[in-house]
């Protein structure tokens, strides 16, 4: 009875395409529509957060205070961090998952389409609320994206309450997204698609989704405790009432460190899809990739205190967290070796997605090395809270996560739009971004080692030269993202027709459906192609 019902429904669906007008986007339950919404939203946030970054770099172009006052500078660093982490990188990954996961596993849609709609539409409200704090009395949150108490509680501007609710909403959205992805991957795989045949992008996202479910509630918990301290007279983090400001850091980083991997694991997945395609060779060490991802995720729960080596942890604690952190280098190394081995004896071509993926491998590895250096506790006392740390995490997040997202976007754009990309413009975007990123962030290693603390609006004269270089690089990188916007719009509007298998070496179910992908795909479970059987 019910089987008949679904077939009827499915047949009905096949006949009608998307609804017309704004309603299509507001009420859509289609994974492709929602994926597009996520991606456009994250692109918008990327530009807003990017403008804030450029404001920061413009102020730091020269020593002295020129453009903004120190209070506003702190608001900029805080908002830049929050918007990039929660508004740009995470929604972009969810967008890619929405588009690609059902097509990769042969499912007709996400498992919970209505929840999918809801989890997207919370986000614009969350960020509207967050951004509106900029116009409030006392200004936006100014305590850094890590919002350490008591600077974010007793000493916070009144807008902190809006910030807390915005974080709650983002958290709910992420959790619903994660639940949806887990349900889709576990329950809607096409017949014959066993777990160890899943494309790596699905594997890394599955593990990321479990991380999200484990730590986003902890973030919600920590901001709730803040809320109670601020408004209801509790003393979780207030020493005067028997609380402890250091407790805040422990709880925050218990969320924060897995969060770092939430922002990089899907990137590993994207790169693991792209490199085999353009090397025309299967991914080397598929199984070890899966195990490495899982062990990174597990280890991420045991290393949080390496963010707080200077708070005064007993020797045994410092040693434990140092060793655990160093251990993460092993599975991460395995991943890099596997990518290199995939390229080795392949037949490589260098289209735009591949260029971004290769840059990812090199620059992420550089970020990994500085991460290893930061793990060494006695030396971390010198690096901690300097520009060396800023250089490190921007290397893993910008040419890491962001480059992977761009690689993914270029890789799958033909599938989404039905048009091939203008390669010349793609390459121009890549080279300007690549040069810009390195000019921006490489000198930060030097100024950090030379002793410049992070989050300062003005600096001593010996840091002036490299800061100027970094600011120039930031503007090169920032402005070249307009080319990306142009490329995406051009690709949506027209261009050379893309074939079903848009790239010569591409393997997987998503390349079996026509380009652009029809509004409904895999209404009937597909037969797996030769390569996956």
């Amino acid at each position: 009875m019910s089987t008949l019902d679904t077939t009827l429904h499915a047949a009905e669906h096949e006949h009608h395409g998307p609804a017309k007008g704004v309603g299509r986007w507001l009420f859509t339950t289609n994974h492709k529509d929602i994926g597009s919404l996520y991606l456009w939203f994250s692109l918008l946030m990327f530009f807003i957060g990017g403008c804030m970054a450029l404001m920061i770099r413009a102020e730091l172009f020269q020593p002295g205070l020129q453009l903004v006052d120190p209070g506003f500078f702190n608001q900029m660093t805080t908002m830049h961090g929050l918007i990039m982490v929660f508004g740009a990188v995470m929604p972009a990954f969810v967008g890619l998952a929405n588009w690609m996961v059902p097509m990769m596993i042969g499912a007709p849609d996400m498992a919970l389409p209505r929840m999918n709609n809801w989890s997207f539409w919370i986000l614009p409200f969350a960020f509207a609320m967050l951004v509106s704090t900029l116009f409030m009395d006392g200004g936006a949150p100014n305590f850094g994206w890590t919002f350490y108490a008591p600077l974010s509680t007793t000493y916070a501007p009144p807008s902190v309450t809006y910030f807390i609710f915005a974080v709650h909403m983002m958290g709910i959205s992420s959790i619903m997204g994660a639940i949806n992805i887990i349900a889709t991957i576990l329950n809607l795989r096409a017949p014959g698609m066993t777990m160890m045949k899943l494309p790596l992008f699905c594997w890394t996202w599955l593990i990321t989704a479990f991380l999200l479910i484990a730590v986003m509630p902890v973030l919600a918990g920590v901001v709730t405790m803040m809320l109670m301290d601020i408004h209801f007279g509790t003393s979780f983090f207030n020493a005067a009432g028997g609380g402890d400001p250091v407790l805040f850091q422990h709880v925050f980083w218990f969320f924060g460190h897995p969060e770092v991997y939430i922002m990089i694991l899907p990137a590993f997945g994207i790169v693991s899809q792209i490199i085999p395609t353009f090397a025309r060779k299967r991914l080397f060490g598929y199984a070890s990739m899966v195990y490495a991802t899982a062990s990174i995720a597990i280890l991420s729960f045991l290393v949080w205190a390496h963010h707080m080596f200077t708070v005064g942890i007993p020797l045994a604690g410092e040693l434990f967290f140092m060793f655990a952190t160093m251990l993460i280098a092993v599975p991460t190394g395995v991943k890099v070796f596997n990518w290199v081995a995939t390229m080795f004896r392949g037949s490589m071509t260098f289209e735009t997605p591949m260029l971004f993926a290769l840059a990812f491998v090199v620059l992420f590895t550089i970020g990994g090395f500085s991460g290893l250096m930061l793990a060494i506790a006695p030396v971390d006392f010198q690096y901690h809270d300097t520009y060396f740390v800023v250089a490190h995490f921007h290397y893993v997040l910008v040419p890491g996560a962001v480059f992977a997202i761009m690689a993914g976007a270029y890789y799958w754009l033909p599938k989404w739009t039905g048009h091939m990309l203008d390669e010349r413009m793609g390459k121009l975007h890549f080279w300007l971004s690549f040069i810009g990123v390195n000019i921006t962030f490489f000198p930060m290693h030097f100024i950090g080692l030379a002793g410049m603390p992070r989050r300062i609006p003005d600096y001593a004269l010996q840091f002036a030269d490299f800061n100027m270089v970094a600011s120039i690089g930031a503007f090169i990188f920032g402005l070249s993202q307009l080319i990306f916007l142009w490329n995406v719009i051009a690709c949506v509007r027209g261009g050379q027709k893309a074939e079903a298998r848009a790239w010569e070496g591409a393997e997987g179910l998503e390349w079996e459906v026509p380009s652009p992908a029809p509004y409904h795909t895999f209404v009937e479970p597909p037969k797996l192609p030769e390569s996956l059987r």
């Binding site: 639940i179 484990a214 509630p217 902890v218 918990g221 979780f236 009432g241 407790l247 422990h250 709880v251």
Partner: protein
């Protein structure tokens, strides 16, 4: 349809784990206290109240430094009567802090103790301390606040000096200027 049922079972489990993890976030607060007690992290003092003395260990001498810290907006005069105390493990020591309220209003304060090095915290046993309760001083009033402590004989050999700090926080109930004026009038 079985997929639908599977989905809901899975979703229920995942939502339950979210709720559990939210609870776990709060559970970290007491867990952290336990953790601090075991490792001495952060120098929180957990041992208080009466203690049975077994006679001091005269072979070891421990320097205890007492320091007083004012938290923001705390105008009280506040300091140890004796900044440096020599003691033996197992010996009961009595000392005091002096405090005075120089302002024209009644104020309530809470002193928060902390020990460095943190690993010594679990061996510092406070028999009686002014930090156990809130201190109330009227305008211009001053007081001597007693402190009675013992250092446990189990104190690791390599610790020969430790610091006990008290940070004084102003926890006077917020009184608006208007209310204050009204009160003064009725008096």
């Amino acid at each position: 349809m079985s997929t639908q049922a599977d989905n809901w079972r899975l979703v229920r489990r995942l939502i339950l784990s979210c709720v559990l993890m939210f609870g776990f976030g709060f559970a970290l607060v007491p867990l952290y206290d336990v953790f601090c007690e075991v490792t001495g992290l952060n120098g929180k003092i957990t041992k208080t109240g009466p203690v049975a003395l077994e006679g001091p260990d005269l072979s070891r001498q421990i320097k205890v430094r007492l320091i007083a810290v004012h938290n923001e907006g705390m105008p009280w005069e506040f300091g140890p009567i004796d900044g440096l105390i020599e003691t033996h493990p197992g010996e009961m020591k009595q000392t005091a802090f002096h405090a005075a309220n120089p302002t024209g209003r009644r104020m309530v304060a809470q002193a928060i103790p902390s020990v460095a090095p943190a690993e010594a915290a679990e061996y510092l046993h406070k028999v009686n301390c002014f930090c156990f309760e809130q201190q109330v001083l009227l305008a211009g009033e001053s007081v001597e606040m007693p402190l009675l402590f013992v250092i446990d004989k189990q104190l690791p050999e390599h610790i020969r000096s430790l610091t006990l700090s008290y940070t004084l926080f102003d926890i006077s109930p917020e009184v608006s200027v208007a209310e204050q004026a009204e009160k003064e009038q009725t008096l």
